[in-house]
Amino acid sequence: MATQEADDISRRYLKRLEKELGDLPAVYRNEVLDEIREHIADSRVAVQSDADMPAVLNRLGDPKSIADDARERFELKSYRAGTIEIAAIILLLFSFSIVGYIVGLVLVWRSPAWRRLDKLIGTLTPVVAVPAVWIAGAHLFLLVALIVAPVYLAVRMRNRSRAVLLFSLVPLGLVVVASVGLAVITGGGISGGGISGGNSYMVVNGQHVCWVGTSTANEKEVPCNSVTPPYGGWNDLEKNSFTTGYDYAIVAKGQHRCTVDTPKGIFQRTSCSSIPAPPGGWQAVAASQQSTNCVGDEPHCLFVATASPVVPPTTYPTP
């Protein structure tokens, strides 16, 4: 056996042993691990060969047997994760309140089923991730930031049966399935509602005037050959006519709804896939950005939307 291979199997052995000895007091756990590490090193020196490494480890015994024996020596009961741990994970997922969340964390910290480092990671992950995601404006990832910690804790739980893992992961699975379902129903993960944006085309004093933008804040006038033409193509110019082409998309009750202006100037509801996407693509919008004065298909609803970069198409139609 090569030295590298002997190193690898002894490292794996020690890692397993460390895991198995997890509930021994740290000072004694480290002492045992140091001693067994030294035992392995001494054995290698004694036989002056790495070929015997499996035999050395075999004589040392299965890490689980050593840990079981150690627990007995230290009069520790083997802890089996169960109801408390499942309750902690469910509270972290579904508490919907600071108090419930804190109770979940208290249960996590009181349980011996997690190492201190895992408890720390489980506690700090949402504290760091949620504000970071919020500040970054990626509100859709808030859910991810919130479920990362329970998922991590469920997976890192020690001394658990498969049933406990299953019971912990079922609520997590429900959250994921419900979120994906909601995203599919609402068209791209829109939560709450809002307006996604569009192009507007008007005739002012006998000339086409075009704007792109996703909000009144970033709306800007652009050459009409830089935007996708309205449904039905460009209309004839009529002096002082008001609107000659108008496609817009709004979000009402969490769903995209699209309307096109026909060549005859009649607004017509249509499927959103049948019209060009607004500049920058369909935008997910937060509930806070939903128009509150959007009645029916009023055009002004168009401009209450997310602030996203406007990406004009690269090929331009000629009006």
């Binding site: 042993l17 000895l21 021994l24 004694y28 002492e31 045992v32 140091d34 001693e35 067994i36 030294e38 035992h39 090193a41 001494d42 054995s43 020196v45 004694a46 004589r59 040392l60 015994g61 299965d62 890490p63 047997s65 050593i66 024996d69 150690a70 007995e72 020596r73 230290f74």
Partner: protein, 130 residues
């Protein structure tokens, strides 16, 4: 195919193992204490010494939690000494408390062993076949 005799022999081996394991569990810590009652020894040396006594220890790794436990109880102490072949080693020696505990065990063990021997000798000789 395994015969009934094979299965029975295998059962015997398992049964013997379980029986010896029970006896070993209680006595092992005193065996360890006995081996460091006169001389300090480090872990690997102690395990090697135990190997000289057949059946005293099978899972060598269990010696180390046992030593930790004895140290926790104050029956052994450790001291660090330089090693010729690597980092310093932890040497184990018996404390006064450990020595007293070992003496008590030795007396009790002798009484117990004699009593068990006497009981076993009370058996009637096994009659083979006739």
């Amino acid at each position: 195919m395994k015969t009934g005799r094979d299965v029975s022999a295998a059962d015997d081996v398992v049964g013997n193992e379980a029986m010896v394991a029970q006896m070993r569990k209680g006595a092992l810590e005193y065996c360890v204490m006995a081996l460091i009652s006169d001389d300090e020894r480090y872990g690997f040396e102690l395990v090697q010494k135990l190997r000289d006594f057949d059946g005293v220890v099978t899972t060598e790794g269990t010696i180390y939690p046992l030593l930790s436990r004895l140290r926790k109880d104050g029956r052994v102490e450790t001291s660090w000494r330089e090693s010729p072949s690597g980092p310093p080693r932890r040497y184990y020696h018996l404390t006064d408390k450990g020595r007293e505990s070992l003496e008590r065990f030795a007396v009790q063990w002798e009484r117990f062993r004699d009593a068990v021997d006497a009981v076993l000798n009370e058996r009637r000789p096994v009659n083979n076949g006739s």
